[in-house]
Symmetry: C2
Subunit: 332 residues, 2 copies
């Protein structure tokens, strides 16, 4: 019995290269006392993963060279010496990019495949959905009737942020790359308008679509699109820093040159890390699940079926903007 793993082989400089990963096969571990073993079913792919590869202080320690790549996943328990887990249980945790897992259950929780597809526990009901929820409602302090702009709007977090904003009575403009994504936003997900950053002048288009300014800007991308939003803020606007995918592979980050718009507009730009809200996850997940059940929020996922060896090429899809909604690798 062997376990296939994707380990970090080298620290990427700029864009992640295939040589930054090691594909290794190790002997399968047995669960010790108080532990359970499981087989990985679905693995999450997230823009934040790029940051975990850099050796600098962040909200989580960097993935070490030679370590299994960190990733959220859902496993199915195959053997257990843990009183709370039985074979056949499905468990969500940060189990890493590997076929087989041994865990003592810390940071893990059981999920019910009858209530939602396993993939959804990594997306709408997982970190992306929760990031959208707390970023928009807590950090962004969104109020009914306000104008919200979401960048990376067709991504895992963006699709949820825009739809949650709609549920809460906001006017929502999404920014995404390409006509297909823009059509998805307005035609399927209920966004009021969409801007294609690949062809539109984002700053001018925002001015036209939000003549009274943006009240909440939910940023997943950074770079020039952040600047375009900062140039169109309403008074007392809130800029929610959720991500900066346009900058993650940059060797020199572009800071927002017009950040002093925050002064002129008496606005604030604020960062957050969703793990800080862990004590409120259960109630937030219940609320999101209710919106999904009511049909007020549509779940969008892009599932790649393959093996753990497909992880590196699947991760690249995120940075090429090829995914729509939550990107997941399902192990065949």
């Amino acid at each position: 019995m062997s376990n296939r793993q994707i380990q970090l082989a080298a620290r990427p400089v700029g864009q992640v290269q295939p040589t930054d990963w090691a594909h290794v096969t190790v002997p399968d571990a047995e669960p010790g006392p108080g532990e359970f073993a499981g087989r990985t079913k679905v693995i999450s792919l997230d823009p934040a993963m790029r940051g975990w590869l850099d050796d600098r202080p962040s909200y989580l320690p960097p993935v070490g060279i030679g370590d299994v790549m960190r990733a959220g996943s859902v496993i199915e328990v195959t053997a257990s010496n843990h009183p709370d887990y039985r074979p056949g249980d499905h468990v969500l945790g940060t189990f890493g990019v590997q076929e087989h897992v041994v865990s003592d259950g810390r940071g893990a929780r059981k999920v019910d495949p009858a209530l939602a597809p396993l993939t959804t526990y990594l997306g709408a009901l997982g970190m992306p959905g929760l990031t959208a929820y707390f970023g928009l409602l807590d950090v962004g302090a969104l109020k009914e009737g306000e104008t919200v702009v979401v960048s990376g709007a067709a991504g895992a977090v963006g699709t949820m942020a825009g739809q949650i904003a709609k549920v809460r009575g906001a006017r929502v403009i999404g920014i995404a790359g390409g006509p297909a994504k823009c059509a998805l936003l307005t035609d399927e997900l209920g966004f009021d308008a969409a801007i294609d950053y690949r062809v539109d002048d984002v700053r001018k288009t925002l001015r036209g679509l939000a003549p009274d300014g943006i009240d909440v800007y939910f940023d997943n991308v950074g770079g020039k699109i952040l600047e375009a939003a900062l140039g169109n803020l309403a008074m007392r606007a809130r800029v929610v820093l959720s991500g900066a995918i346009s900058q993650y592979n940059a060797t020199e980050v572009r800071g927002p040159a017009n950040y002093m718009s925050l002064l002129v507009r008496r606005a604030r730009m604020e960062g957050f890390v969703v793990f800080d809200y862990a004590d409120r996850f259960p109630s937030a997940v219940r609320e999101i699940a209710g919106w999904i059940a009511d049909g007020r929020i549509k779940v969008r996922e892009q599932v790649v079926t393959g093996t753990v060896d497909d992880f590196p090429s699947t991760l690249d899809m995120l940075f090429r903007g090829e995914n729509v909604g939550k990107l997941v690798l399902r192990l065949a």
Copy 2:
């Protein structure tokens, strides 16, 4: 009778040039019904003036070409048809860079030269003092025992921000240019430490002086010093955007490349405009005046004596970092 004025002749590109100003003599105006006339005594010079010269949306409209340069000043009333003002009264207002003023009193208020020198109504008891007060205590939400870093610390706002932070029980580090300014901060104004950005590595020095991170960063300068501070934030830090003097003459502004530190540190960066707090000015001025009377806050001013024609060269002193404390032009 004539009135000498400094008017804006051209919009500066980058650094303000002498040719951007017109020195003109116009006939002296008489006060109409409900108006008073006065002679300018002291004129304020402020970094924010640079922003008023640019033709772009801001918290005040740009100074028009051919307009008298906008400036706060204190005048002495020489003639009055206004029921509230009598000859000999001293009045604070935005009267512009000119020798003689006619006003209907809107936005003006009387000041008492027996309670404080006229210059102090432009500095510690004026906009700079109030900017420091509301920026630190309201926007920055400073709490006792926190670590505060002030840039532009030897300037009009910086000297006040650092001293108010000390009064409120904070540990205060000032950043300024040159050994004389740094000595002023620690030896005279009670700052706990000073960093000379001209010779010190600001980021490393901050790390040593504030190993647990900065709780409130009060920024008057922007640029690389803002980046150094963002690289040393404590969790839930507040970055108060008061000014960005290092960038005002830049044709291409440097945005903070490490702004995503705000995410890692769950921190916020927030702008404000002191005029928004106008209803609380009287109580704030009383509190600051009390601290000055108690000797807990020392007033630092640099007074240039001359004519309105000296305004352009005096303004340049601000951007060359030549002033210590509040820079004022006193008309001889």
